[in-house]
């Protein structure tokens, strides 16, 4: 499973991956990029909120929470 592909929303807590593509509309694309979701950057999933709550991820020195729907727009591959 060397370059297995998934979505950010599929990661387990503690799992790290590299961002492959961001499939968001222009506005969201800008916001995601400004928060550090850029292609090639690595992202660590810290925790998933209960009751299908948001995900807590870390990009470098920035922590971000985002809903599973938005995380589903981001393709990642294993490191």
């Amino acid at each position: 499973m060397k370059f297995a592909k998934y979505l950010l929303s599929d990661l387990h807590p503690g799992q790290e991956a590299v961002i492959d593509a961001v499939h968001a509309d222009e506005a969201l694309h800008h916001r995601l990029a400004a928060l550090g979701f850029r292609i090639g950057r690595s992202v660590l999933l810290l925790r998933r909120g209960i009751w299908a709550g948001p995900l807590h991820v870390r990009l470098g020195a920035t922590d971000v929470m985002l809903r599973r729907a938005e995380a589903g727009l981001i393709s990642v591959r294993s490191k």
Binding site: L35, G53, P54, L66, R67
Partner: protein
């Protein structure tokens, strides 16, 4: 005069820096071309006066949020001599693109790398000289929180602003053309990072992460948060009530010993207007100020620690089911202080339906002005043991009203707003900063309140004393007539004619209500409390409080809703819906309890 704009992303400590630079001289004003108010202040900079403007925090100069539009419009409409770009040094890699965007505007600039203390603790090294050489303008490491590097920053700002001769507004053409250069910006960011910044490969587990493991725990996170909030309200209550009683006694003494003898020579009419009207009304409200100060201080403490952002994470799943999101919940909490800033806080939301739905629920949060009214009534009617529980019940009802409103209106205000929010690390709040923030809030609150209170109590006095010649507060006065006019509506929910007048003025500002009580009954201090205890029982009291909690946003809140929603119809909805909800709630409660007690006894 030179004009300096502070530009930066949210959570960079930009406002902390602004407060530090300007002290308490800041004022909030309207700027041409911009729909919102911006804070600005004049400071002495290198021998000249300069005006510093705090722009809203933005992620991107070509973003689509209201705040991002505000910044663009501001830059187009107003000449800027210098833009001070504030960056969170620990996140420099992510924030450099905004710096480069700003640079391409062609303005004179200085880069302020804030939170340098945190960056150093994390083992980061930033070579400001190299960075400055690449950027073409100075870069300074600072810590706005601790005041580090402030002298150097001021000095650099002064020098840079002096070398620049001419200031012109940014033309939209330039703004547009420079903003489509993402690839170049990304490349340049990467180059600068390699040249000027070194980051330790493996960050050790931060204390912040350890706190998060508990605070964001799947099962304990939410209960812990509510326990923390309850403790805060308890603390405000236990610390605040003695202060309030003490202050009320001092005002009473002041009246007996100083004012009564002084006013003795005045004609009756004026004597009564000044002492029973203005003085009694005003001090009844003023006695609650320490309580409000405490409340805002605690809120600032919680906000600065980073707990509010966690609250957004913890509650988002629940809020999503109500058609809202975690940020709406944070705004509601802010609304417990004052609804007005909470309503303005919804600007971070991009989609209109989500903003509107948030603005519809926020006025239902039990703001500190309503808290004053409830504290007053509760302490008059209930025992000290019952009191905290009754108050807790009111907070609970505040949530129930919000949930009900959201469930009813979520279909009408359906949105697809993405929820992507930064989670700043836990930080130890600085006393000085909490104090500054708390004080600023209190200041705004008092400005709003005093304007209405003096006007309100005078108007109430006139209503309860005119026409001349009738007994004050009697059914023959204007107030009596007004009371009878509303009696068919308010009698079924147990609200008598005297309280009706107070309710009418609560529409102006809720804190006028207790001022109005004092004027209507012609009493203040202990005497007023006793009169209250005699004239209503617990059933009337709770029905009245339920109605007061929900019935209508105050004038300032309605004006804010009108401005923020840019819709008269929505503003009208935000008044009419709570009125209906308030009346129905009180009716069900009042008649329900009466029916049950008559059925059982």
């Amino acid at each position: 005069m030179k004009r300096i704009a502070l530009l930066g992303m949210p959570n960079t400590g930009k406002s902390t820096l602004f407060n530090r630079l300007t002290g308490s001289s800041a004022r909030v004003a309207n700027w041409a071309g911009v729909t919102v108010d911006l804070a600005s202040a004049k400071i002495l900079l290198g021998g000249h006066m300069a005006e510093v403007v705090d722009l809203p925090g933005i992620y991107d100069l070509h973003g689509f949020s209201d705040d991002e539009k505000v910044v663009r419009h501001f830059l187009e409409a107003h000449p800027i001599d210098l833009v001070a770009i504030v960056v969170n040094a620990t996140q420099i890699e992510r924030q450099l693109p905004l710096v480069l965007q700003a640079r391409s505007l062609g303005l004179s600039a200085v880069l302020l790398l804030n939170m340098a203390d945190e960056a150093k603790r994390q083992g980061m090294q930033i070579d400001t000289a190299r960075l400055a050489a690449r950027l073409g303008f100075p870069a300074v490491l600072i810590s706005a929180k601790y005041g580090l590097g402030q002298a150097e920053a001021l000095c650099t700002l002064a020098q840079t602003v002096d070398t620049f001769v001419e200031s012109v507004p940014v033309r939209y053409g330039i703004l547009k053309s420079v903003l489509s250069d993402d690839a170049r910006i990304e490349r340049e960011t990467a180059e600068m990072m390699t040249e000027a910044v070194s980051i330790p490969v493996q960050l050790s587990e931060r204390i912040s992460d350890r706190i998060d493991r508990l605070a964001l725990h799947p099962w304990f996170g939410l209960p812990l948060f509510f326990i923390a909030m309850m403790l805060m309200f308890q603390a405000v209550y236990w610390l605040g009530v003695p202060l309030q009683t003490g202050l009320a006694q001092i005002f009473d003494e002041l009246r007996q010993v100083v004012l009564e003898p002084l006013a003795a020579m005045l004609p009756d009419f004026l004597h009564s207007l000044l002492l029973d009207g203005v003085f009694a009304g005003f001090v009844t409200v003023a006695a609650f100020v320490p309580l409000i100060v405490l409340f805002f201080l605690f809120m600032a403490l919680i906000e600065d620690s980073g707990y509010l952002a966690r609250a957004a994470f913890l509650t988002d799943a629940l809020m999503a089911r109500l058609g809202l999101d975690g940020r709406s919940f944070v705004m509601v909490l802010m609304g417990f202080g004052c609804n007005v800033p909470a309503l303005m806080g919804t600007r971070v939301m991009r989609e209109r339906p989500l903003r509107l739905l948030s603005m519809l629920v926020i006025p239902l949060s039990l703001c500190s002005a309503r808290l004053q009214v409830f504290m007053f009534i509760i302490s008059a009617i209930f025992t000290p043991v019952q009191a905290p529980w009754v108050l807790f019940g009111m907070y609970l009802m505040s949530f129930v009203a919000m949930i009900l409103t959201a469930l009813l209106f979520r279909k009408r205000f359906r949105s697809n707003e993405p929820f992507v929010v930064e989670l700043p690390p836990w930080r130890l709040p600085m006393l000085r900063q909490v104090w500054m923030r708390g004080w600023l809030e209190v200041h705004h609150f008092l400005m709003r309140a005093t304007r209405f209170i003096v006007f309100g109590v005078i108007a109430v006095w006139l209503l309860t004393h005119l026409p001349l010649g009738v007994a004050p507060g009697s059914p023959e006065t204007l107030a009596g007539h007004l009371g009878r006019l509303f009696a068919p509506v308010l009698a079924p929910i147990g609200i008598d004619e005297k309280l009706t007048v107070a309710l009418l003025f609560g529409f102006v500002a809720k804190e006028v209500m207790i001022g109005a009580f004092a004027v209507i009954y012609g009493l203040s201090g202990d005497a007023l409390v006793h009169e209250f205890a005699h004239s209503m029982n617990w059933l009337h009291a709770i029905s009245f409080m339920l109605f007061t909690l929900i019935y209508t946003p105050c004038i300032s809140a309605i004006a804010t809703i009108k401005v923020e929603s840019r819709s008269m119809r929505f503003a009208a909805l935000s008044v009419v819906w709570p009125l209906i909800l308030a009346w129905s709630t009180s009716f069900v409660f009042y008649q329900g309890v009466r029916w049950m007690t008559s059925a059982t006894g």
